[in-house]
Symmetry: C2
Subunit: 390 residues, 2 copies
Amino acid sequence: MKRLVAVLFVIMLATPAIGYKPLVKKNAFEMKSYTTVGGKTIKKVRVGWETYGSLNASKDNVILICHYFTGNSHAAGKYSFREKNVGYWDSIIGSGKPIDTDKFHIISVDSLVNLSTGNPNVITTGPASINPDSGKPYGMTFPIVTIRDFVNVQKALLDSLGVKKLHAVIGPSMGSLQAYEWASAYPEMVSRLIPVIGAGYTNGNLIAWLNIWASPIMLDKNWRGGDYYNGQPPLRGLTEALKIVTLHSQSWEWSNGVFGRTWANKNKNPLASFSNQYKIEAVLNNVGKARAKSSDANHFLYLVKANQLFLTGHGKSLIEGLHRINSPTLIIHTDEDLIFFPEEVRETAVLISSDSTPVKIVELQGARGHLDGVLSIKQAGAKIKEFLEK
Amino acid sequence: MKRLVAVLFVIMLATPAIGYKPLVKKNAFEMKSYTTVGGKTIKKVRVGWETYGSLNASKDNVILICHYFTGNSHAAGKYSFREKNVGYWDSIIGSGKPIDTDKFHIISVDSLVNLSTGNPNVITTGPASINPDSGKPYGMTFPIVTIRDFVNVQKALLDSLGVKKLHAVIGPSMGSLQAYEWASAYPEMVSRLIPVIGAGYTNGNLIAWLNIWASPIMLDKNWRGGDYYNGQPPLRGLTEALKIVTLHSQSWEWSNGVFGRTWANKNKNPLASFSNQYKIEAVLNNVGKARAKSSDANHFLYLVKANQLFLTGHGKSLIEGLHRINSPTLIIHTDEDLIFFPEEVRETAVLISSDSTPVKIVELQGARGHLDGVLSIKQAGAKIKEFLEK
């Protein structure tokens, strides 16, 4: 019996079965030097990237996926059969799925200043990287980067692959900002645009909230102006920052619906002591701590800055940036979003379409707020498929 | 000429003119000892209180006003003619106004653990107070208090005045929690209930946000477990905490509508440096700093705890607490509220009315979110007047 199981296991590993998905591999793309929108040069830029599906001979079946603030390029599949988790949008990427790997070659790239420097599958360049000139981590001397810089590095990667046209650019949240920027910066390259849970700019309200997200890091005594790579990292501040992101990305229906007023420990009444918490507090603390372990605090600050600076086109006005977009656009969002409010998403749609660029809006339903753009994306699967195949 | 002006000025000071409002005086109420809901005894509890209008002979024309989280008992009028500002609800309290001082005797009381210990017009007892047993500030050894404790101290004040029945209890935000609690704890005393921008309980989502509000204080190295009264107070942490409260209390239409993406300094592009900010960031920093100066960090933490613990009736269930309310109820709220979401406010209304207690809801319109319960209360003036006079 043991032997039979072993044989079956070997066959399973060796033979593509029905629904078989090839394992995902992380690649590294390197640029000897890159000059930012702000005019600073970074030597030796490296970012990770992965692909799903195959590039066709004419290299015109590429769909680019851009990731969210706390995410990375792992959008679909697994790195090994043993892994439990799949990429964040696996529900819509794969053989026969809306973003069909039988037809398309999907490319997903780690952003500059990616948060998850402690994740062995993330390759990025940012303040935690070694500055080749000094042999030490950049810290806060790393140049400020923008969403356009993320896009320009992706563009350099595509150039190196000989890809001249994108069938579509798609991404959730910060990924949608990169998608808007792509279609505005390189309109001739982008055939279709699918921004998910994001607007064409970061408005005053989100600029303020991003400031709130970042503040606990700078309050942490271990942050020391970003110069902590030889000592203790500011884990408490980073934990608090990630708690805010986690809560802000959800709907109140989640935090109240799942946890309500339940105590963290049924024998420890929150009335009795400041250390007795409610369950939602303990859950947020644990999530924040776990996420902080694989994240870098300075990278968080640089991501905040990049997001605050975002205005499609990075020019003088929103309308100017959005009018440069000529790609048919499918905007996916949710009315429960507390990060990009539905009114701004609709404003973005109106502005893009005001010079006759076709724009459609799909609304997600759910109780997870902003996060439904990741968790409930399958709802929009049929619309995405239809849009990609037109 | 100078003399004429001087004479006119003396006449103005001495003679009640049309629309004359008497100056407001702060009183102190003291209890030798008070035992909290949690069973702890506090010696020598003092709270401030003020009144508008006159108590009638039968002492049955009293309207009690309870204040919000960062507020105090100064709900109407001025302490001196020279003052520019009036109390926070002055638009609806006064001679001929919806809460009419010609008819009613309005009493407003500083809460326990009131935030504004540095405001000379606030009298409160909390962690910054001297513990008579040790001769030193309590710090975090002060007993945890609840919204019911705020109510019980107000009740003791009314008892001392011989007031046996309240014409109405009204308050915004944390004031509305006290109002719900009053009507549930002492149903025979409360003839009318007017909760403004608040629900019958603090739900899981708000419990989590209150945790986020409090966190920066405990991150500040000057906090030292609350034992900072001999050293530097944790002003940076308190500033960050007050920034969150300020932003969370507003609608995105305010932060974006008023400030948008304007730079704090038109010569300092936020792209160029981390110290170059957007205007909304600078405004929040300044507001936070200014509010922190007159506030106490430990009092903030105790207020957070009191609010997290809030469930009308402080019993086993929300329905049990709300069913004890028999007072006709007028709930005032706004659909733009991000602290008490409209769905919970409506849930509260449904539960109170489910045993036939009459409940009406008035919706405020505005672009200030939660804060419209303070800034735009005049919109509900006619409804409040009608409700009070029935």
